[in-house]
Symmetry: C2
């Protein structure tokens, strides 16, 4: 049956994605993929030329899913600050880290233009997408006009990726959550709707 073939291929891809996420490219062996998927050796090599092709399918799929999930949150109505907050605070398996960002640490992935491409594209897309959200907010007067949408977008993506690192180092989601609180707190101080009651504002009003 045709569906059996699809199932086999899908199981291989799913297992490879998991292993790539957990152990990276170097730490993932074809044998481990076979065992986790329950697909035999001959079958695996029938459907995929080898480890590289398997990884390519897995990485491509993971990158696609990531973009879909991000776009779902980023295209909802709301102010830019709300949209950005909704995206950053979405459900995440923090201690597992980011399945795309993880690949960044794999020299064998990054040195291969084909394997690398989906990783590069994912972050480029996300950075630009967030910058557009901020740019729109800026246009609607939601932020202090001095805010740099591109730099701020990159800072937000970086906090996310770095938050995973801190969480894994501490074996706790706490630093991840605090890091998000941190940037979002800083961002809130630049929104027009929630002016900070700081020394700057105080001095200005009493001038």
């Amino acid at each position: 049956m045709y569906s059996n073939r699809v199932d086999t291929v899908e199981r291989l891809i799913a297992s490879t994605r998991e292993l790539l996420w957990e152990r990276g490219y170097t730490g993932t062996s074809p044998r481990a993929v076979q065992q986790r998927s329950g697909v035999g050796q001959g079958s695996m090599y029938h459907h995929f030329a080898g480890k590289r092709e398997l990884a390519l399918a897995a990485i491509t799929r993971t990158a696609e899913e990531m973009r879909v999930m991000a776009e779902e949150r980023l295209s909802l109505p709301g102010t830019a600050a709300e949209t950005v907050t909704r995206y950053l605070r979405r459900e995440r398996e923090v201690l597992r880290g980011c399945p795309v960002g993880r690949l960044t640490q794999d020299p064998d992935v990054m040195s291969d233009p084909v394997l690398r491409a989906p990783v590069e594209e994912t972050f480029r897309w996300l950075s630009e997408r967030l910058a557009r959200v901020l740019q729109e907010g800026l246009r609607r007067g939601e932020f202090d006009a001095a805010l740099d949408p591109r730099a701020t977008a990159d800072a937000l993506v970086a906090v996310l990726q770095g938050g995973y690192v801190l969480a894994r180092a501490a074996d706790s989601t706490a630093p991840f959550d605090r890091a998000l609180d941190g940037v979002l707190g800083l961002l809130a101080a630049r929104t027009a709707t929630a002016p900070p009651a700081g020394p700057a504002a105080a001095r200005t009003s009493t001038a």
Copy 2:
């Protein structure tokens, strides 16, 4: 001679540190360490029980150095914003990533309490150290009183770690630099000495 023994051990540690940085724990073999260091097999196993002990020495050394380098920047005089900026913008080999943060992605390191400890401690120390710098700034009235030192400190560390990820994904230091510009821009808007000329301030002054 005694110095020969020290040299051999030092060369092994140095090579292991490089390989751990480039390829991670899983991707680093004792054989590769021997080749890079020019130390023979028997010699290596005479000085270190195995891969794990070698890695422990390397990781410990890297963590120590990292703290020393951070403290050098963080203990210099200046406002909190200046100090934080000095630390974030110090010379870095951005595309190589962070040698400590990298280990966070290695399941064999993170699942071993002994190997993991230096990683955990380094980030805990850095986070607390930066929080203290911000706290001091706050006490001196350099920031809007609503700023959360701990959350902001974690956000700063996260931007650094995430900046490396973005840089490696893009194979360019540009996103790293932009991410730093981004957070520092946000932070600057909360300093008392450089009030933002945004809508919030404008509305307050014309009220």
